[in-house]
Amino acid sequence: MMETIVFVISAAMVLGGGLGVVLRSHPVHAALSMVLALFGVAVMFVSQEAHFLAAVQVIVYAGAIVVLFLFVIMLLGVDAADNLRIEPIKVQRPLAAIAGIGIVGLVSAAIIAARDDLRVRGAGLQIPSETGDGDANIKQLSENLFRDHIVAFEVTSVLLVVAVVGTVLLARRPGKGGAARQRGEQIEEPVAP
C-alpha cells in the first residue's frame, strides 16, 4: 500500500516534470521542471532499493547538471521566453506527435509482452531492508563495480578528463590577437559593467 502511494506520487513528479520541460516556454522554468523530474526518478530509485544510485542521482543530476544548465542560461542571457506558437516547419509537430505516440506504444507493448519472462536470474540483490544491513546495496554495487567492471571504470576516468579538456578548449574565449581575431571574424566583447 505504502509502495503504491510512493510510486504514484513519484510517477506524477516524473511525468509532470517531463511535460514541464517540453511545454514551458521559459528556459529557466524548463530547467526547474527538470529538477522535479530528476527528483521523482531519485525517489523511484530509493523505492527500488538502489540507495547509492539515488544519492548519486540527486548529487550529479539535480545538483551539478541542473546548476550547469542554469549557469549557461544566465551566462548567455537566453532567458527570454521563446514563442511556442511559431512553427518553423509546418509538418514537424504532427510528425513528432505521431513518432512520440508510436515510440511510447511500441515500448509499452514490448514491456507488457515481456512481463511474463521477467523472472529472477541473477545472483540476487542484497536488499537492505531484508538483510538488515543498511550498506548492503552499496557494498554489493562496489564489489561488482571494482571487481567485474574495473577496466570500464578506469576508461570513464579517461573520458571525464578528455571531456574537461575538450570543453575548456571549446568554450575558451580567444584573447586579444587570438586565432579567431586574426581570421577577421567578429567576436563579441563582453560589456564592461
Binding site: 527500488q48 549557461v72 570543453t167
Partner: protein
Amino acid sequence: MLVAAVLFGIGAVGVMVRRNPLIMFMCVELMLNAVNLTFVALSKRLGDINGQTTVFFVLVVAAAEVVVGLGIIVAILRRRPGATADDISVLKG
C-alpha cells in the same frame, strides 16, 4: 517501467519539437533518465546488480556529455546570439 517509457517518449518529442538547443539538451537528459529508471527496475526485478552498475556508467557518461554539449552551445551562441537549432544548418559546406 511504463512510466519510464512515457518519460522517454516525452523526451523524444521534446527533442523533435523544441527549437531552443538548451531545451533540446534537457530533453536528451530526460531520455537518459528514462533509460536509467528502466535499468534499475529491471535490476530489482531480475535480481542482478549489473543493471545498477550500468546506471552508474550512464550517469558518468551523461555528465561528460552535458559538459561538452553545453560548451558547444556556449560557443555557438556567443558567435550568433539567439541561434536556434535550425540556424546550425549553415554548418553545411
